[in-house]
Symmetry: C2
Subunit: 336 residues, 2 copies
């Protein structure tokens, strides 16, 4: 549909209905959504559910390897997977700036539909609000998901134990650097794509491998360093990581060096960190490597009883060590 989004598209009136009927429903193709009721009715057969919510404000809306729509679907499906929850359904809420091209919104809806189809998770409820020009930046999307937890108690930050191994599923920093490069603010180019991908199948394979998963996290905003700090804090333990064991793709490493960014703090959208009992760690890594999303899985460190508790330490390539603290400021705003 040609044209631009006007405030009328958010009114609940004729233009809202046109937008829903012409732009959203034919793409998202969800019978429950098409009822246009105030809420969606779903049937579940599981008692232990997971709920996760995330708003996506990434700029630009489209970047190498993905876009805000795909990211919004995978992001919430992945957050559910971190509790061993298989996603059952998603809601999607759009805040649109007046003046956005309807075509852009449709392109994003297509992308969400493709991602939703790929992961087999329907979008059952939706909402669209339109705000005046200058009151939002193009498009923000919230997705909230419900999933069925496969292991009880689910993995949790506070379940990390001294002696546990830390496993990382692949390279870090791809997503954040891809988005940053897409902003065209730098005098050099690099062929870097976001790692944006769904992680449920990988988690399923890890569960099948029989590992004792104490903690699962996807290192998105704030990157690997932030997730490790959260785990160390929640479980009141220390964590040590081998810097040389953390894989970083060559172009990403180069861009980080030029920009003075530490890849350990840069967002990922298709990676996970697992904290597991030491016994099964190698077997788990082997199982992960059989899987498309875990080809470069490896043990990168361990949970220790060192003092102070809550501290994350990195052993550097030259044999020294440095503290990997939470950052105070913001390195890269709006990468997810």
């Amino acid at each position: 549909m040609a044209g631009i989004i006007t405030l009328g598209h958010g009114s609940g009136g004729k233009l809202s209905r046109e937008l829903i009927e012409n732009s959203f429903l034919p793409r998202l193709r969800s019978p429950e959504l098409a009822r246009l009721n105030d809420a969606a009715a779903i049937t579940v057969s599981d008692d232990n559910l997971a709920v996760s919510t995330d708003s996506f404000v990434v700029t630009p809306l489209v970047f190498p390897g993905s876009d805000i729509g795909r990211l919004a679907v995978y992001g919430t499906v992945n957050d559910l997977a971190m509790l061993t929850a298989r996603a059952l359904c998603l809601s999607a809420a759009f805040i649109v700036e007046e003046g956005l091209a309807v075509e852009t919104l449709e392109q994003i809806a297509d992308s969400m539909a493709a991602a939703s189809h790929e992961v087999g998770v329907p979008i059952v409820a939706a909402d669209t609000k339109v705000v005046e020009r200058g009151s939002a930046d193009a498009l923000f999307i919230n997705t909230t998901g419900i999933g069925a937890i496969q292991r009880t108690p689910p993995p949790s930050g506070d379940r990390a134990q001294i002696g546990d191994k830390i496993i990382l599923s692949g390279t870090v920093a791809d997503h954040g650097i891809a988005v940053l490069m897409a902003r065209n603010q730098f005098p050099f180019r690099a062929d870097i794509a976001s790692d944006c991908a769904p992680l449920w199948d990988l988690v399923g394979a890890m569960l099948d491998a029989g590992a004792e998963l104490h903690t699962l996290r996807d290192p998105t905003r704030g990157g690997l360093a932030t997730v490790l700090n959260e785990i160390a804090g929640a479980a009141n333990v220390a964590i040590t990581v081998e810097e040389a064991a953390v894989p970083v793709a060559e172009p990403v490493r180069g861009a980080c060096e030029m920009l003075g960014l530490d890849p350990l703090y840069i967002a990922n959208e298709g990676k996970l960190v697992a904290v597991v009992a030491p016994d099964g760690a190698d077997r788990l890594v082997a199982a992960m490597r059989e899987h498309e999303r875990g080809r470069e899985a490896r043990v990168i460190g361990e949970v220790t009883g060192e003092h102070p508790k809550g501290r994350v330490t990195v052993t550097t390539r030259i044999g020294g060590s440095r503290i990997l603290d939470l950052l105070v400021g913001e390195q890269l705003p709006r990468i997810c």
Copy 2:
């Protein structure tokens, strides 16, 4: 906490943690939220669930009778109630503009906590994003809720039948006019408060009264007129309404007349429309009037088999009739 929100508060780093630990967690007091995992684990004992999502972009953030926080809690609880679903839990996602006073955010969080406590529905999952100054307008909140459906099949727009009575629970247009007046753009004052209120107890009382509820809707964005059009369209029926039967508070009517606004199109946040079989309609109205939120409940019209299908007609006070169509533009942007 004094100070303003910076991009660092959305980084996932130290400032994010401080904001969560100092401003959100002590207010929202949810054990599941305090785990700070990627998703929340909940246990449900119902198979038939309802899901609803809504983003709130109302301006100003605080207005007579309510604020964006309370609205965000009640709004989603009410949408669930329209499927006879008792809310089980909510997620809350905040998009904050850099520069917002932390105190304002805390005031809104207090308000959400009070509303969540009042309705007995915990906020189990949350997310905060910060965007640069000028990329959002102060604060947007998404709430998504899960509820347990009490009647299967739940009421739905397409279940309205010829002969059904249309019941309205009380006065219309209070919310939209209260928000509009709060913007201080008019040379006159009026003592008008939003009707923002939770509706689950009223719906519970209606279910207890044993009525056959074909459709339930809360006439928010687009008001009563829009909801009636949605129902007529979904069920492929006609609807007639007696204008004189629709209660409008005197100051609201006065403000509407001065501003040239039709109260039938103005948003409500604590009212509902029920489409019910004619037999039990009077008994249902009597039951609703026993309830705080339904004191002024009444039959305002009926579903007919007239042509054309999908049309809503109003019988005016002077005995004529007019078509109540969906609006093309937007009367009042950002009232919810």
